[in-house]
Symmetry: C2
């Protein structure tokens, strides 16, 4: 018995359900589910994703598929009382892709399949609408030509435009039935010219070719790019949905639209959508015509509206989530074409999740899981200050919230080029298309002249968390001339504009920004997340200002305070340079003694804010040449300030140069050469702790040795810290609590973790450097070739963004296992930038770390991701070292 | 019951034996063993090494030690009929260190202990030799003052010289008994002046202080340096030997000497040694007086000579090895003071090992184990061409064989400084001392004006495998003036000289050199080694000349052929640059097409020499900027040659610059960006193999992908190679055998080895880079701080010299285990420079690699080390992939 390749839905036989998303794709599973719920869907069937995978492997239809297709077409003929490819009542179908993950605009669709010279005639006779019939046929030829026959859409457009010009028609709708019939002939000629063959007339041949084209489109470049961008596996394949056609373009009692059960931008609980009367669905999604709000349906066809409203409520109740639906009204009858969980902005996701809990629709744990942690980033960034003094150039649709301030660019390529050069850019387009995705991804925001709230630009921008103003019709975009005009003003490439994604304002110049607030639903959700999570969340922070941000964003301490950042400040850098340029230990100690009060003061400031929370302080890490002057002029300045010969400065600068500074004289290696640096820093920390203790504050420094490679080196450093601490406490007559531990950021440290943990009280995995060493990959240099790796799918994700679990992750696991084996209560955290990236946070939970540390403003992301990981993988007991 | 801290020997009670070297040290164990063999040794006792360790930890004598010392002193008093610290027949003892490993000149010795004002009088009365008595006493004060009281030896020397000047005496021997008695008084005053206390008169106090001083000397700087240099553990401690004094300086029927049972320089089977009549042992070792050949003993005291000869034979037969012995003749009676296995040159080691097998004294496996593999280096280097045209400046003793050509330096510090600057140097000294070790280590050779074949310079140079000419009395060395005079010629610092360690010639200028021969005993030993070893030995070699050397030194194939070395040759580099500067793939392919014939020709040449042996060829590895011009002038040249704008060259050079080139765009990463490079190289290799196959030669390339980090990247590269190979073979209609495999040199590759080995046919561990990545340590930059690590004992050995087993070694083990788990017959080798270093070769054997690869001239070292590892750890079956 062959595999079951096909699942029927509607018309009296439904074999699938919502649970079968992997097999039937999201669209197919939901069509089956709607049919099961007795919601009106045009009948059809779904060819499975496994069938697609099989086809892509063997390049031929698997055994039994084609027979199944014919059998199901027979069923549809019976259900509709129609005939595929002939008869008085010709059966027409749509063929659509639909994988496990929705990929808007990525995969291809063919409508009106089954039309040919014969059926077009019978259809005309049947519906009595010649214009509709030929419009359908010309659309079919266009889509089929484009999607299946690999022809250019623009070639068809050119002919359509030519026809309109010939007829003096402004819009498509102004073309008559005969015009369209003539256009069909033009299109058919075009097919012969471009492909060398006539347009296929056999409907089953059309169907076979369309199914194959959908299968193949899984691997088209846009689809691959999209999957790469959203980390979707290349192996799952797409299903194919073959469904009886219904028409929104058969007259004024017809229409087609899309709607959300709640507002996808704000989360407000209200039907939100758009309808185009007398139009086909593709017109909406493509953003070619600007549609009307769905409330217009209520006026024009109240029964349809109320039925639709009722179905929306039922679907939301059924799926327990906000729904994104497509529908068509054919001669007053409502058909649901699709429902799926709707994409939404982070703000909407938070509001919907929280409100659904209070509505009793979902539980807290579901609410916590429902918000994409990374998307919170949108809420943690500034917005345009509406009270600011700004020149509003034009207003469009507030398609995706937030703010964007950048220089105008007109092509995706230019956006990428500018962004690589470090320039913030705003991508301005007539309308966007899937080819623009890379450009959108690097832009601060997107501005389009055409397209509605569900246009490509809007949908993609919301998902990316980018600010987007769409359908700004006042704009006259002239990409070729690298400028746009708006209300009499000309804006050229490279000029600054600002977008307000919350209002739709397009602002000339760089607008003022206001900081986000973290109250309300956001605070509620964060509170729930904190209830669920096991992982602690700390901040990578260096200053008093950072400390305050850390507390505001819910950090429980510092995971990484980089002491060298303090070295660069004015009044200090000269002492640092004097220390480096010292001729002997005595001079070096003098310079360090000058630095001591600054460092001590820094720590007192931080302790005063962080109170009794742990503050992990990393001892000096960067190579010394980072502190030395680079230019001749700077060298002269330094020589003058330090009252030494400029040649001495030059020699020292030359001496400290390194071939591979990443692998050079840095981290605790500096201490092996200059133990007095470590002494000064340990002294500053402990003196600061003693100082605040005098005022009753029991600060808690965790002193961290960077770049440890093995036990002897570790113990050399550790002993200096402990000896210095003991001496300071004796001098002061005060005992303070502190830990001494180390960063684990070299593969060798992971291997030697057992021995290191004999005396190290905590480990903090420095996954930035650990990734560099494990991969042998310089973060500074990888930019030139890592894109080739991602482009050729040789790595799944940039390992500097998300922890490479297979390599770096295993090193971390080895380190934790060996460390904990020799010390039960070893505190383990991570302080690479991965600490604020959700999949890395999940990994940290899976390996049972005690905390992650990240930039303060990413802490809410980490908190939510940690809660999701705990719900997914179960909680555990954290180490208690305090 | 307390530990047993003391083991007696001689005088009727011997508690130790040769097996107890760890506990008693080499000297103590051998004294006990000699006593057990009824060989005349002065009786004494040995305080154990564990006692030293205990003392160094607690800083006090362990319980029971002092009681044991007194008890044993009582035993010695009884055995000698003498009294320690009094009586008519005062007992005097020597106190000497002696650890597990012999450390010449490193540890301290005190002779004549027990003398004080009282005993010096009774001794005078007893021996009736006032001069001898006071000479003994003044020597005792000098040594005790220097070693125990931490006074300067030179202060005593100054007084001795002053006394000689006062008395008009040329040599020490010219001083009268009264002179020496006066000198004793001077010395005693000096002690008070320098230490604030009188010289201790209580013999037990002297003994206690001396034992403590020996214990403490374990940690003196020279000892620590020596151990570091020779990789001796710091933890084993030294034993202390307390032994009754016998005297070689009591008259003309007295003498003292050292001798080897065979010639330690050539290996010739003949007694080899020196004697000083009427002298104390320290005079010989310190090289202060030039001694007479031992054959003189035969003339002056034939009975003693024959007894000594008989003892030598007995000891060699007993220890089955060449012996290095110290003896003293006191009034015609021979006493053996020490025997140990003698240090020898590599040439001697080989000859002795081979001859002892033919003498039936040892087995082949013992012979193979007896030669230090690293020392073979001495035999594999060039010697002075004695037929060359050379100006012989002077002749000294041929103290250590080989040749040295370098610039004259007069201090160890200057030697180190010059060597660091890349200059070859010859260290010229009046005589060397332990302080000079670092300088000797970096010099090409050592030349001394004083001292014999067993002087410090000679012993240390032989062990280091350095050429040494000693006792060149024609030299007038004036270090202060930075020059020496010899036979009317003045040679200044920085001038070139050459040393012939085989003849003792000192040659002006740079002498011609001849290559070593590898025949005779050397060939025999290598043949035996090959019988025992499991590991294959291949060559790191790039050219036809290298190929011939590889075969000469016994390599079984190439383990690493670096194709980029071929890129630098004239006629090629321009094409390489054109390739790098190409604006597009088409131009790049054109440049590569121009390179193809060169690469193909290279491989044909190598295959023709290497025949059917495996030739592992690494595809392009270095970052492209290594091929680009550096200076403005070079850039202009390149622009002119390639007929492009110089600005384009400058831009490209700028573009290719990297922050951390070691972690940059190199290895197979280049291929991901430019697959056509790999295609060209694979094509060149397979075309070459086809070409030679036409002439009946079945070459065997193993194509190696560098810097693989994971399976997808590996497969991307592998597929290009296999696809290209298949295409070439189809074009040529010829099938050739080849393997495709990869270097494993990133920690991640070790972790992902299982997946990589699914299709990789071999692994070659690139332990140079693997060390850099595992340690996060740049080989180019480590020179500035790694010495601090070695100095502070934070690493045992430079990990770039010997494989770091604990870290890098574990990564290798993980890689091998995972690789072999997924592919039974995975061929595994190593091609880092560790492949020619004995302890690393042992490691490779322990992890069951199939081969090591190293520079051709180091192959004999690898072969011998591999044999030793197989004997030590057992043989195993190698993978058969051919």
């Amino acid at each position: 018995m062959a595999d079951k390749w096909i699942y029927a839905f509607g018309g009296g036989l439904t074999e699938g359900s919502a649970e079968m998303r992997e097999l039937l794709g999201g669209k197919g599973a939901n069509l089956a589910e709607m049919a099961n719920l007795d919601i009106p869907v045009p009948p059809g069937f779904t060819i499975t994703t496994t069938c697609c995978v099989d086809y892509l492997r063997s390049n031929e239809f698997p055994v039994g598929l084609w027979e199944g297709v014919k059998e199901n077409m027979g069923r549809l003929e019976k259900a509709m009382g129609a005939q595929f490819g002939g008869g008085d009542n010709p059966l027409l179908v749509s063929v659509r892709s639909g994988g496990l993950h929705s990929m808007p605009g990525m995969m291809d669709t063919v409508l009106n399949l089954g039309l040919n010279h014969e059926t077009v005639a019978s259809l005309e006779k049947k519906v009595g609408n010649r214009r509709f019939t030929y419009d359908s046929y010309r659309r079919f030829i266009n889509m089929f030509g484009n999607v299946v026959l690999d022809m250019e859409h623009s070639d068809f457009e050119t002919q359509l435009t030519a026809m309109k010009t010939r007829r003096g028609a402004e819009n498509d709708i102004d073309l008559s039935a005969d015009d369209l019939a003539a256009l069909v002939k033009d299109y058919e000629e075009l097919v012969i010219t471009k492909t060398g063959s006539a347009f296929p007339q056999d409907p089953y041949e059309q169907l076979r070719m369309a199914v194959e084209a959908v299968f193949k489109s899984w691997n088209n470049e846009r689809a691959v790019t999209y999957r790469r961008l959203y980390n979707i596996s290349n192996d799952s394949g797409t299903a194919v949905n073959v469904q009886c056609m219904v028409y929104g373009n058969m007259g004024d009692d017809c229409g087609t639209g899309v709607a959300f059960s709640r507002n996808p931008s704000t989360g407000e609980k209200a039907l939100y959508g758009e309808i185009l009367f007398n139009a086909q669905g593709e017109d909406v999604v493509a953003g070619i015509r600007t549609p009307q709000p769905i409330s217009d349906l209520k006026e024009r066809m109240p029964e349809c509206f109320y039925e639709f409203e009722e179905i929306c409520a039922r679907l939301e109740d059924h799926y327990k989530d906000m729904q994104d639906m497509e529908f068509t009204i054919q001669n007053g009858k409502l058909f649901m074409l699709q429902t799926r969980n709707g994409k939404r902005t982070a703000a909407a996701a938070v509001r919907i999740a929280v409100e659904m809990v209070s509505e009793g629709l979902i539980e807290k744990r579901t609410a916590v899981r429902r918000v994409d942690a990374d998307s919170l980033d949108q809420l943690l960034h500034p917005a345009i200050d509406v009270n600011g003094d700004s020149h509003i150039l034009a207003q469009g649709l507030a398609a995706s919230p937030g703010a964007a301030v950048g220089k105008v660019v007109f092509t995706a390529n230019e956006a990428v080029a500018q962004a690589e050069a470090g320039e913030p850019v705003v991508l301005v387009r007539q309308e966007t298309s899937p080819e623009d995705i890379m450009g959108m991804n690097v832009s601060q925001g997107i501005l389009t002249a055409r397209g509605g709230l569900t246009s490509h630009a809007a949908v993609v921008a919301r998902q990316m968390g980018k600010c987007c103003v769409a359908g700004c019709s006042a704009l006259d975009v002239r990409s070729n001339e690298k400028l746009f005009r708006a209300n009499g003003k000309v804006v050229r490439e490279g000029e600054w504009i600002s977008l307000n994604g919350n209002t739709g304002d397009v602002i000339l110049g760089q607008a003022d920004l206001v900081q986000p607030t973290l109250a309300g639903d956001f605070a509620t959700l964060m509170h729930w997340a904190d209830e669920f999570r096991t992982l602690g969340v700390r901040a990578n922070a260096d200053t008093v200002v950072d400390s305050e941000a850390a507390l505001k964003y819910g950090c429980e301490g510092f995971g990484l305070c980089r002491t060298e950042h303090m070295f660069f400040e004015e009044g200090r850098i000269d002492h640092v340079r004097a220390m480096i340029l010292a001729e002997n230990e005595k001079e070096r100690r003098e310079a360090l003694a000058n630095l001591l009060p600054f460092q001590r003061g820094d720590f007192i400031g931080i302790f005063n804010v962080m109170k009794e929370r742990p503050v992990t302080i990393r001892l000096l890490d960067p190579p010394l040449h980072e502190f030395l002057p680079k230019t001749d002029e700077d060298m002269e300045d330094v020589a003058a300030i330090l009252k030494i010969d400029v040649e001495a400065v030059r020699r020292a600068t030359e001496f400290h140069k390194e071939q591979n500074p990443m692998l050079g004289h840095r981290g605790c290696r500096l201490v092996v050469t200059f133990p007095e640096i470590c002494e000064m820093q340990a002294r500053a920390i402990i003196e600061a702790a003693c100082e605040v203790k005098k005022k009753g504050l029991n600060a808690f420094p965790e002193i961290m040795v960077p770049l440890t490679s093995g036990e002897r080196e570790w113990k050399f450093n550790e002993e200096i810290v402990r000896r210095t601490a003991a001496r300071v406490m004796e001098e002061q007559g005060i005992t303070v609590r502190y830990l001494v531990g180390t960063m684990i950021e070299l593969p060798r440290a992971c291997l030697r973790a057992g021995e290191i943990a004999e005396t190290a009280e905590f480990f903090s995995f420095g996954t930035n450097d650990l990734t560099q060493m494990t991969y042998g990959l310089s973060r500074d240099d990888a930019g030139r070739f890592l894109p080739d790796y991602i482009g050729k799918s040789l790595v799944s994700r940039d390992p500097f963004v998300a922890v490479d679990r297979e390599g770096v992750g295993e090193m971390v696991e080895i380190g934790i296992e060996r460390g904990r084996k020799s010390r039960d209560n070893l505190e383990v955290g991570i302080c690479g930038e991965h600490g604020g990236e959700p999949s890395s946070v999940e990994f940290c939970h899976m390996v049972k770390m005690d905390y992650v540390s990240c930039a303060p403003y990413r802490a809410p992301i980490a908190r939510l991701a940690a809660a999701q990981a705990a719900i997914e993988h179960g909680a555990y007991q954290r180490v208690e070292v305090h």
